[in-house]
Point group: C2
Chain length 105, copies 2
């Protein structure tokens, strides 16, 4: 299991606009091989911003990498630049590999 | 859905020891109300450290908060201090609320 996250520092007062962009976007990922689940996450508030994270679970890092080279990826990101005024700087990408999983009993 | 993460900057060369602590610990969480799934995640390498994150999915933030006040929480953390030499500073807690979920088709 691989989790791809992008962290966004959304400017104070722009939270609702940022959420609306995500909630209203076209979704191109449901049929991508290896895609498991996507979540948009709202995190802690800090000085002047609220942290958000896109959180996509993939079967493997290879599936994620294949997606980044695909037409579906280009379609998903073609309008991303128009949201830039809503957050500080650039989103920060972090990719994680699960090395232990514990489920509920 | 609520995700509780703790970020650890594990010192270069201590990665295997850090993973062993997690992989060999006693697990006290499987029966906690609202617990869904735990993952230990290995993230990107940076100057002098590798980022790790504990990643616990809860049904709700209230379930997570109830757990932090429980005996099971104390049992899970009683030896946490002994791992401190393996990472920089303190783990950084970040809690996230899912505001959108997209599943695979």
């Amino acid at each position: 299991m691989y989790i791809a996250m992008n962290r966004f520092e959304v400017k104070r007062g722009s939270e609702k606009d940022f959420e609306a962009v995500w909630l209203n976007r076209d979704i191109h990922i449901r049929n991508v091989p290896g895609f498991v689940e996507f979540h948009l996450l709202r995190g802690p508030e800090a000085e002047g911003h609220t942290l958000y994270s896109s959180h996509t679970i993939w079967r493997s890092e290879d599936d994620f990498k294949a997606w980044t080279r695909s037409e579906a990826f280009r379609a998903a990101h073609k309008d991303a630049g128009s949201n830039k005024p809503l957050y500080n700087g650039h989103p920060v990408f972090e990719g994680f590999t699960a090395i232990q999983t514990v489920g509920a009993e």
